[in-house]
């Protein structure tokens, strides 16, 4: 099966503007997009640049934009795309370093804002107990691989790049709703700002983008309710 890849190219150290380049490839329906990128890089265009490591959707390196949707290159097969022409771009809303590699400095700075760690003092000698039900509350949230696909897909973030974004919200949830955390307020405080949780307008792009099928909006709605409780 032959497929055409139209890839946005841009090297921030020398190009003024991005441009597109096309590659025709014979592929199997079960090939991953990442396999195709590898083949393009190895056989045709050595300078094509992208990140990847685990190749099975667990490290979060290779979030890219395929036909207008953010996904992981290693988690999408040719047969999932159902198109003969595959348009590949870097994930939007972040500065491009080279080709599909974007600068995630800001993304991780936003992650750090929410105090992404358990705040708890004086642990018991054995493990802290946590009921199965309490653990289930954070079950989805702990799956985040910090790939950035969600934050990059959020229209609210495109309009206001200062918006902390769904990934940071999810991290705040991860700790604020962990029964072992002793200072949920500290995590909540960080996102109760005009650049925080209130910039979410339940657009659900993040949910569509998340490769780990995390329903971010559900978690954000829990946060908003918690905030309201706090204020009243």
């Amino acid at each position: 099966m032959q497929v055409t890849f139209s890839i946005q190219r841009y090297d921030s150290s020398k190009d003024k503007k991005p441009y597109r380049q096309e590659f025709k490839l014979d592929v199997e329906p079960t090939d991953r997009i990442l396999d195709c990128l590898d083949r393009i890089k190895w056989d045709f265009e050595g300078s094509l640049t992208y990140r990847r490591s685990c190749s099975h959707g667990i490290c979060g390196s290779d979030a890219i934009n395929i036909n207008g949707k953010n996904m992981l290159a290693c988690q999408v097969l040719i047969q999932d795309i159902k198109k003969k022409r595959i348009k590949i771009d870097p994930i939007p809303g972040m500065p491009i370093i080279k080709d599909l590699v974007v600068d995630t400095t800001d993304f991780f700075a936003k992650y750090e804002v929410v105090k992404p760690y358990l705040i708890a003092k004086n642990p018991p000698p054995k493990e802290r107990f946590q009921s199965v039900a309490d653990r289930a509350l954070i079950d989805e949230a702990v799956n985040c691989i910090l790939c950035g696909a969600c934050t990059s897909s959020c229209p609210s973030m495109w309009g206001n790049p200062n918006y902390l974004g769904p990934a940071a919200m999810l991290k705040a949830y991860r700790f604020a709703f962990d029964s072992r955390d002793e200072a949920p307020a500290e995590h909540l405080e960080a996102i109760d700002t005009s650049d925080g949780v209130w910039r979410c307008h339940t657009i659900f792009n993040c949910v569509e983008a998340c490769p780990k099928e995390i329903n971010l909006t559900w978690h954000i709605s829990q946060l908003k309710k918690k905030m309201v409780e706090r204020e009243l």
């Binding site: 750090e112 804002v113 206001n160 200062n162 109760d192 005009s194 650049d195 925080g196 309201v228």
Partner: protein
């Protein structure tokens, strides 16, 4: 490390909650309003019927609150839209100020429409 763009710390919770509450109030008001206006076309579209209705203080209260709630909900909504753009603080504050003045002015104007009866 702290993030360079952290917004102001006042909580957005009340505004968010009121937007939902006023929205729900508006549903009730809207349904009433529409039945009144369109189900029987004359009831809203002639002075005589309007005048008659306005003699009832309950209708007055209904319309007064409709004006307030509607304007609040609309402008609070617009304010939300404004904050979706990164802009200088002075600019957003100017817009907020303008919106408040506009809102109060129109609320007063709307009140006059009702209280003239």
């Amino acid at each position: 490390m702290s993030y360079k763009h952290l917004g102001s710390r006042n909580s957005g919770a009340p505004g968010w909650l009121f937007q939902r509450i006023t929205g729900i109030v508006l549903i009730v008001a809207m349904v009433g309003h529409y039945i009144l206006m369109h189900y029987t076309p004359t009831s809203g579209h002639s002075f005589a019927s309007t005048f008659e209705r306005m003699q009832n203080p309950l209708w007055k209260v209904f319309y007064l609150s409709f004006v307030v709630v509607g304007i609040y909900h609309g402008l609070n909504g617009v304010w939300g839209v404004v904050r979706d753009f990164k802009m200088k603080r002075w600019l957003s504050m100017t817009i907020l100020g303008a919106m408040i003045i506009l809102g109060i002015a129109f609320a007063v104007f709307g009140f006059m429409n009702v209280l003239v009866f």
